[in-house]
């Protein structure tokens, strides 16, 4: 649930900027992953299934909440957590450490006390890859009338689950819906909820190299701020 009061103009501008940044983030935060001691080389492919999967999750998670909710509005029901991340120890994890590279940093050198900014530089940083995550959540899908309370209450969906199966597929399971495959050859599906109410999802997938020489890996991460 997000309850908002008295936005200022500055906040509105910031809000728009965050949305724009959110879109950009998909493209540029993690542009690739270099091989660790266990992995192959990486090539950036913006049209990959990796980004499709993250976009789907991004859009879907907008309607969930990081805060416990009273999902049916009845006094007899205690609030329940509608967002849940757990470790899926059963899912395969091909490697435990990856070197992510961002290309947004520029190199700089100091000459005679003066800084000179050079060309873009691939900024490498390490990422510890934990076991695969299992993401479960419910989302607001509409509104309902509660005659007892004389009020309008949110209508929550059943549970939606994203997890990596034993064939390294990222699948989406929902109550009463067929299971869908969202991404194949998944190396990392990491969901990291943060105390500020946002969640960072990292996805590393592999794809056969066009030249047939091994596998290329693609990495993206996205920060989501659920609206409810």
């Amino acid at each position: 649930m997000r309850r908002q009061h008295g936005f200022t103009l500055a906040e509105a501008v910031v809000a728009v900027a965050i949305f724009a940044t959110g879109s950009l983030y998909i493209y540029s935060t993690f542009t690739g992953v270099t091989r660790s001691s266990q992995t192959a080389s990486v090539q950036i492919d913006l049209g990959s299934q990796n980004k499709k999967a993250l976009t789907k999750i991004y859009n879907e998670l907008q309607a969930t909440s990081m805060i416990a909710q009273d999902t049916d509005g009845l006094d007899s029901t205690p609030p329940e957590a509608v967002f849940n991340v757990s470790t899926d120890n059963g899912a395969p994890t091909p490697y435990t450490k990856a070197k992510l590279v961002t290309r947004t940093m520029k190199s700089a050198t100091q000459t005679g006390g003066k800084w000179e900014v050079g060309a873009n530089k691939m900024q490498a940083r390490e990422m510890e890859v934990s076991n695969q995550s299992q993401l479960r959540f419910r989302k607001v899908i509409g509104y309902q009338f509660n005659a007892t309370a004389g009020s309008i209450l949110p209508q929550w969906s059943g549970w939606v689950t994203y997890r990596v199966d034993n064939q390294r597929r990222l699948i989406r399971e929902a109550d009463g819906r067929p299971t869908r495959t969202v991404a194949q050859r998944v190396d990392v599906f990491n969901v990291n909820p943060r105390a500020d109410g946002t969640v960072v999802i990292s996805l590393v997938t592999g794809r056969r190299s066009p030249d047939g020489q091994g596998v290329r890996r693609y990495a993206n991460a996205i920060t989501i701020n659920p609206k409810n």
């Binding site: 049209g47 907008q62 009845l74 205690p78 949110p154």
Partner: protein, 810 residues
Amino acid sequence: MLLIVLVIASAIAGLAAISSGRVVHETRTQRVLEEETRAFNRAYAQLHMAMNVINTSAYNADNKNVALQNAINGVYGGTVTGVKEKTDPLYAYDDEGKLVRAEKPAGIQSGYVAEGDAKQKTVTLDKGSDESWLDDPEGVEFGLLEGTNVRAYRARDYIRRLQKLNGKNVTNVDPGGLTDAFYVIEAAGRSGDTVRLVSALIRESEPFSSFVFFQNRGTLGVSGSPRGLVHSNQTLAFYFANGDYQDPVSAVNGFKYEAGATTENTNIVEGNDAAAPIELEQVDFEDLKGKADVFEGQPGLDAEIFFEGDKVKIKEWSKPRFEMIERSNSYQQYAGFHYETRIVEKPVQVGTETVEYDEDVVTGYETETYTVTEQVQTGTDQETYTVRKKFKIGTETVTKYRTEQRQTGTQTKTLYNQEPIMETRTVTKTRTVKKLVPLSEIDPSAGGGTVGGSGATDIMVEVWVEEQYTVTEDYVAGYRSVPYTVEEPVYETVQVPYEKTQNIYEWRDVEQTRNVPIYEEREVERTREVPIVETVTKTREEPVYEVQPVEEEYKVNDYETITENWVEEVYIKPELIETTEITLQSGSGGTMYIDGRINKLQGKLDGRLTIVANEQVRVTGNIQYVDSNGNTAMSNGTASDYTKKYERNSSYTGNSTLGVISRDDILLTSSIPSYAEVNGTLMSVGGRVGIDGFVTKDTGDLTKSSTKNRERYYTAEQLEAYRAYQKTGWKEKKFKKNALRRIGGVISNNRILETWIRTKKGISEVQHGFVSGNMQFDINLLFNPPPNFVEVPRPVLTYFVPIMLVRDNN
């Protein structure tokens, strides 16, 4: 051969086509997804700007949001037909950002017009366009919010719109019109050929029951992880590390971090440290009184209220009071005398008469002889008797012995002293110390609380903890024997004879004689003189009286009547006037109004009820929500074992809600059980919510109730009421209890106080109130406030819903 080559070529071409098609499809899907994301984001941006219009809007006399009303009335376009007049605002934001009641209609802040990217991508969904499948079902209308293309619907209408968009049958929603306060605003975003809708549910006003803690005056201290809104019209202080505030917290004069809390270890999901004040004074008790549909107390009468399931018993009492009554006393005071002549009937002697009478007269004496018997001694007798006597018959010399100690020499003796062997060692010891710790460290599920006192001002729990410490100490590792010698004399015991001369005695019988008198009885004649009496008749003269009127002069005292008047203060005891029992209807519940003080409030409530109190409210026992089967809403609410978790009772199936709105204080009193539970939202508009026995200072802070403090801070009227109530069983009294468990919020004008901590010589201890506390917000109050509960004139954006079913054009 050629055939083989053709087949191979066809296969290669086919594979290439498949591969190419897959790439094209994948790229297109990705593009659609990206457009969808952009469309959503643009729609969200529109909604945020629309919320600015609503949030900054004024409120009219009916507590309606002007921007929403203007939109829903179609003032700025839309499909609404009928009334299109702008509504007049009653509340408006002043230059300091404070929401105040406007003297005259204030100008509407027009909000923010979409600009730049968001503006360009705004989509207008016109009726009759090729996107007519987005049209509303029949009977559903919308209006546009000023300066935006965002639609505003009544929420019940929007549910019907969603039914149509989802391809379901459109049904009648909320035919009774109970949800007038709920609206949905909808924005459309476009990217490329993709259109996405996002809607948001808005409640026009914020129920005060949404606040878990609201304080108007003084610093509000909170700790733990309370759910529900927290607001201070002054400063909000966070106490203790690891506070977690998932719902919005706000303060007009900023945040403070106390007792170990820091910005780093305190998680605030949504905080506003420069919030606009929310005025409690705007609560209209006359309006609330008019909404009392289940009971309205008689004017000027106090009440006792007892919850008995779905029944509520109300006893109405006259007020205890002192009345000034005029008294008078009259008495006679001596003022002098005068003489009066009176005619009285009196006996008057009119003559004499001769009367005869008999008289006994002694005429002489005669001698009478009589006989008496006497003992007469006639002689004596000599009597012999024997006595035993001791006679000395001689002397003799005897030898006797006495015992003496004689030293015969000396001897040397060896003795031993036991001397301790001392060593030093470091020892770890355990001691039990009293310690105050935040409630969340003991029970992470526990909510927040408030405390006060000269030290920390938030809920903390006093616990005994075992603490280990080391000391270096000397100890006796063993003993050793050290010899020494002494010279001792040697004695022997001897019997020494000596001679002693002593008398020799003999006992002998000796005969002795004595004289004994001899008596004899003899009759002796004696004489006496006896008088001779004769009766003689005599005469005498006696007066004769008649009753005749006679004049007499009297001395008469004069008196004057003195009357004294004075005014006396008389205590008038309360009297039971009437007892009423009402049954709460299931469903929406009801509202009750009590004009006087509520002196008792307790029991088990099955139903939804708001009590509006014109004066002080005294909580005198447990208040628990129950269902029709008697199951309590919470488990372990009154358990004396405080380690048992205070949590929802899974067996509970009721929908009980209690709201208490008081013009004066709402006090937890000394008769409350030692392990108490209170379910309900308590709102004191002009006073405070907290424990009995304290006086509110001018600043809104509290001090102990004492004669001096009462005289300083009470009005004359309050002082007189205090004196009268102190003569009843409803008198003010400080207390100390073990635990208080609560669900529901607290809204208070002055400082909220549940625990008073005294710090003396560096040691803090709970002196009054509740030693332990567990407070949980009733999250259902966010959606389902008590009937007619007071609302804050500000909108609440609750839920966003992205509409995923909208199709693409291509």
